[in-house]
């Protein structure tokens, strides 16, 4: 990132917003990802060391939203619709056309939505302001989310879980579970104890603390 918060390789003529925290080990492919970003929160987006945010990721963040991404996490085309807080751990792999949403943004009641749509049409920005209580999402470490999957508001996904392609995750996923389907169900459960040990060994083997220095 240059001093004026542009990306040297960027095809889009944008800047990285001031309240997006990253360092020179983070790769952001394009500032187009911040086109719908309008959070004024401090550290509204924090990208971990060695994380990469590829083309197609869209940070659609409301006025007070915060998204925190861990180290070595790779995102490649996620629509992040956030009005409260979405936390994503370390070593996560998040695939194409996934939707992570902590809010529906509009109420389920048609009458209120009608008033909202009339207000939206009278504003030049045409932005839908948050009109619904957002409920945070927490994704643990080492989670793999398959393409076209959706994580709905108030969902927690445990460490090491796998979400199969095209799943819709409507409720919490236990650590080291494999879920799939719409709505997503547990289709397999790995042993948390031995998985945790193997993960700790892998972190040791790759000398992660040295990589992060």
């Amino acid at each position: 990132m240059t001093l004026d918060r542009k990306l040297e390789w960027d095809w889009f003529p944008g800047v990285v917003p001031e309240n997006v925290v990253l360092d020179d080990t983070t790769h952001v492919e394009t500032t187009y990802s911040f086109q719908l970003f309008r959070s004024a929160a401090p550290e509204a987006v924090r990208l971990g060391r060695g994380s990469s945010i590829y083309l197609g990721v869209m940070f659609d963040l409301g006025p007070v939203a915060r998204v925190h991404v861990g180290d070595f996490t790779l995102m490649n085309g996620s629509r992040i619709i956030c009005d409260s807080e979405i936390t994503i751990g370390d070593y996560c792999l998040i695939s194409w056309n996934t939707v992570l949403m902590d809010t529906y943004r509009v109420p389920i009641s048609p009458a209120i939505r009608r008033t909202l749509l009339e207000q939206v049409a009278s504003h030049s920005s045409r932005r839908v302001e948050p009109a619904e209580q957002a409920r945070p999402i927490a994704i643990g470490n080492g989670v793999w989310i398959g393409f076209d999957s959706i994580v709905l508001p108030d969902v927690n996904i445990g460490d090491g879980a796998i979400v199969g392609a095209r799943s819709v995750v409507t409720s919490d996923v236990p650590p080291y579970a494999i879920v799939a389907g719409n709505p997503a169900r547990v289709i397999r459960q790995l042993d948390p104890e031995s998985s945790r040990r193997a993960v700790a060994e892998a972190v040791q083997r790759f000398n992660v603390s040295t990589l992060l220095q």
Binding site: I81, M101, R114, L117, S122, S124
Partner: protein, 192 residues
Amino acid sequence: MNAPADLPIAGHWVHGPPPPNVSLGAGTIISGELSFKRFRATSKGALIIGANCTMDGVHFAIESQGRVTIGDYCYFTNALLLCELELRIGRYVMMGWNSSIADSDFHPIDPAERIADAIACSPLGSGRPRPAIAKRPVIIEDHVWIGPNATILKGVRIGEGAFIEPGSLVTRDVPPRARVLGNPAQIIGEVP
């Protein structure tokens, strides 16, 4: 209504005016470079959009005989409308990012017919007629909300005020004010 500075409005299309058989109501905004990339409709009034709509990055993939009508105050974000016959969308309908509606199977179900179709569609198939393909109109009534990544298939009628959860695949009619989720979409509740 004045045109917002950063978005093109009816008649001020980024790549020139919309096709002549498209009619847009006052205060309706269409943005996105690919909106009419797959627009092949030839009939008069093939796409009629009411007033005060926001059509952001919507693909109007309307085939030669297709007709799409959209009511007032609709708000679509990167939706895909695939139409060979008819899509009738009411007022105050919202469609989320990457959602889609199709009124056709696009190809026949019968395996032999599908071979005929593959040949007819190929670069060597010039002039060969395509086999008959199932098409049925899709009707979306007023105040329906369609979540991101949801898909609505042919012949479906979605009743007034229904709430289609993100990622749903809707293969059957949805009663008014029902809340549906899943593949295939099932009723999980009611809109209060």
